[in-house]
Subunit: 217 residues, 2 copies
């Protein structure tokens, strides 16, 4: 029985394209694994605190020396790292806000990246190699060769941090131009945006099916 | 009488290099402007909430239609934008956490970047052209030509968002290798790290002096 860790981070619930695509992935995964476990973290509706001094300092001192605040901060980091370690597959949904990930997702990363445990670049950390699907919903067009390519700090950043620090095996699914149905000036891009979203759904379902088969044994 | 908006975001207070360098800038600025105003935001010790759906939705509806939650979220965004608009000069201190800015600073950006007010890339927003000094403290070496250059998402990101969306006039001051005195394996880099910090202090004081003279009239 496989475990999926599913993380959403869009502040919006109703109209979020990243949530829609992660939901499609998860639905297929659950169809294939009706008795599996899904650990769900909705970082917008159940937000994590920012990484605090207590959370940092607790990692440098033995547990018996912790203040109550440090112990609580350490317990949260441990819980999040446990979830990541329990997962056979990881699914992350993120929007692009002001060219990069929302602060909610950065807070999760800052808690869950623990040097010597989940992150151990030289020797391989506790989560190295886990298959990770990242759904990045971008309001405009930021693909290779476009004028806005150098403003893309979502997939470029997540690739470096998830691969470089956690050693995860990352694939990106990127529905683009999600603002086409919202911003009047982008109306002519609606067809392209719809096609991008449809392709993302298809890719998400296919990826979920492939991964599910891998863990079916 | 000039106004400085001073923002710190390092989770650590005692041993933070970014806070030490922004403090040097601020001290020189205050010496030059004993009767000026400093608006201070300590994003670690007085953290902002993550950008919520209420904060986003409030920007799309008239004030009289806001729920109490939306009104509160909108009021916070207005307060932060007011502070940015009141500033003659802006000073931001940030560490690098997991290759980019802390979630505390991202939360501030997500609140303060308001399309049609502070951000209006085509026509120039309400804060365009303001002189902005950003102190980036990096634990390792991520400069141009180094093996870790492509893992640097602090200055590369902040340059795009502060310049591209807010139109600020940005200069970076970057003390590097701040972990040399903490990580035993980096001990041989202590001299280089100390020189980098000393240069950052010197640059911060010089920049504060130059800016202060500009606003002395």
């Amino acid at each position: 029985m496989a475990t999926l860790l599913h993380i959403d981070s869009s502040a919006l619930t109703e109209s979020s394209v990243s949530r829609e695509v992660t939901a499609a992935f998860r639905a297929e995964w659950e169809t294939q694994h009706p008795e599996g476990t899904v650990i769900y973290r909705d970082l917008a509706n159940d937000p994590l605190p920012h990484l605090s001094a207590d959370a940092i300092v607790s990692g440098m001192a033995p547990a018996e020396a912790h203040t109550p605040e440090q112990a609580a901060a350490a317990a949260l980091r441990t819980k999040l790292a446990d979830e990541l370690e329990q997962a056979d597959a990881i699914l992350i949904g993120t929007p692009m806000y002001n060219f990069t990930i929302p602060s909610t997702l950065k807070a999760w990363l800052d808690h869950v990246i623990i040097m010597g445990r989940t992150a151990a670049p030289e020797v391989g950390g506790s989560v190295a190699g886990k298959p990770t699907t990242v759904v990045v919903a971008r309001g405009g067009g930021y693909g290779a060769g476009t004028p806005r390519e150098s403003f893309e700090f979502v997939s470029t950043y997540l690739d470096k941090v998830l691969t470089g620090l956690l050693g995860l095996d990352v694939e990106f699914i990127i529905p683009e131009l999600t603002l086409a149905r919202v911003v009047p000036e982008m109306a002519e891009l609606i067809d392209v945006a719809d096609a991008s979203k449809a392709a993302a759904h298809e890719r998400a379902v296919a990826k979920a099916k492939t991964l599910a088969a891998r863990f079916a044994a």
